[in-house]
Amino acid sequence: MPDQILKEVRDIFASVFQDEDIMISGNTTSQDIEDWDSLNNMHLIIAIEKKYNIRFAFGEMASLVNVGSLIGLIEQKIS
């Protein structure tokens, strides 16, 4: 399941950052992607919410440290 979510989240990253070849892993952080600014940040959140029909609370978002923790949170919300 996490691998499937990682693949789907990668597709969302590719769309938001307009980079079809973008590579992400569980360890990826906002420091690893040059265009990851505050606006793309919000676009990512909204796109992920739409994809999985979930909503993040602000406290939840603040606690995420990398893509791995994001995927963990998505998994928790859709299960």
């Binding site: 940040n41 440290v65 923790s69």
Partner: protein, 357 residues
């Protein structure tokens, strides 16, 4: 055949008119209870009208029309009704009428009956007036072919708000450069303000407005009205039109609170969930175009305000960014504004340094 139900454009708190965005059916289609019939747009929100009565629909409006509140927009008939007979241009006797090229195209495209227009030379304005799309006195470009896009009500409100100040006042703009000291980034994946000076700017502006209250004021009828509260409006224009998100009583908030509120505002904007309360009653506006790489610009002062601050992009070579303050000369003057900007630049730099420690 009878009209069994009439649907009226609803009253709006904010507007006297609304825009027709989308019709979901065609005339004489059969509609059932609960069917959504039309999308209307006010300056603040979208409204979908549905029907509680079944029958055959007759629209009294067209997509793109600007309509008043409280008028009949849809009739529901108990059986199919006879539509007004329309004639194609080919059916019209043009013996005694000259129709402009643009009007001809419009008539053909929309199958409009122009026999009722009692003029020998028919322009596009005449056709549109005859249809009630535009009012007497309004004109449209008849000589050059154009594509007409209706302006949304939100844009109309924006134009009115900006015109109120710009057309009747003495607006001036002063800029200052701020040293772009590198920001202290945190480890949160979704820290929305990692890369932006905006929260710090909002924080420092709100504190400084207590010292420069003229910039938190507005001019009206030979009086200057000074706001008690400091409500900083942050202009957001991403993919849902320009909205000014209000951080209320901003001077009472610390930097972390402002970061959090700003992120929530952008989040709500993108979700199209900003409430009326969140986009009204601002007393000072900040508009940040730094994401678009601009080096300097002149922002326009909003209605019932005396100043607006524009934030430009960081010049990476020179390690600085520009702040531009447009202000109403009836309320304050260049010397005070220069002092405000000088204080602001120093305070921003100091705040960045303090937050790095």
């Amino acid at each position: 055949m009878a009209i069994v139900h009439e649907i009226i454009s609803p009253k709006s708190n904010a507007d006297k008119a609304m825009l027709v965005r989308k019709l979901y059916f065609s005339n004489n289609d059969y509609v059932r209870k609960g069917d959504e019939l039309v999308d209307l747009e006010t300056s603040k929100t979208a409204i979908i009208l549905d029907t509680q009565i079944e029958g055959y629909i007759e629209y009294k409006i067209g997509e793109g029309d600007s309509i008043s509140v409280g008028v009949v927009v849809i009739c529901i008939h108990d059986e199919k009704f006879e539509e007004v007979i329309v004639k194609n241009l080919g059916d019209i006797s043009l013996d005694d009428k000259i129709i402009s090229h643009v009007a001809q195209r419009y008539i053909k495209k929309n199958s409009i009956d122009v026999l009722g227009i009692n003029k020998n030379f028919i322009t596009l304005s005449d056709v549109r007036k005859n249809l009630g799309i535009i009012q007497e006195g309004e004109t449209v470009e008849d000589l050059i072919e154009t594509v007409r896009h209706p302006i949304g009500l939100a844009k109309k409100v924006e134009i009115e708000a900006l015109l109120n100040v710009q057309s009747g006042s003495l607006i001036s703009t002063i800029s200052i450069d701020v040293n772009a000291i590198e920001l202290n980034k945190n480890n949160s994946l979704f820290s929305s303000t990692n890369d932006s000076y905006l929260p710090i700017i909002i924080h420092e502006v709100s504190k400084l407005l207590r010292k420069y209250p003229a910039l938190n004021s507005f001019y009206q009828n030979n009086h200057i009205y000074e706001y008690i509260d400091i409500n900083i409006g942050v202009a957001l224009d991403i993919d849902d039109g320009l909205k000014v998100y209000n951080i209320r009583e901003c001077d009472d908030k610390d930097l972390d609170e402002i970061k959090d509120l700003l992120a929530r505002g952008v989040y709500s904007y993108l979700r199209k969930e900003l409430t009326i309360k969140e986009i009204t009653e601002t007393t000072f506006t900040i508009t940040d175009l730094s994401q678009y790489g601009v080096s300097n610009f002149i922002p326009l002062v909003n209605s019932h305000q005396s100043a607006i601050l524009g934030v430009s992009a960081v010049d990476k070579a020179l390690k600085r960014f520009s702040l531009s303050l447009s202000f109403d000369h009836r309320v304050t003057e260049g010397k005070s504004v220069s002092m405000f900007l000088s204080d602001l630049a120093k305070n921003i730099e100091q705040c960045v340094i303090n937050n790095k420690i």
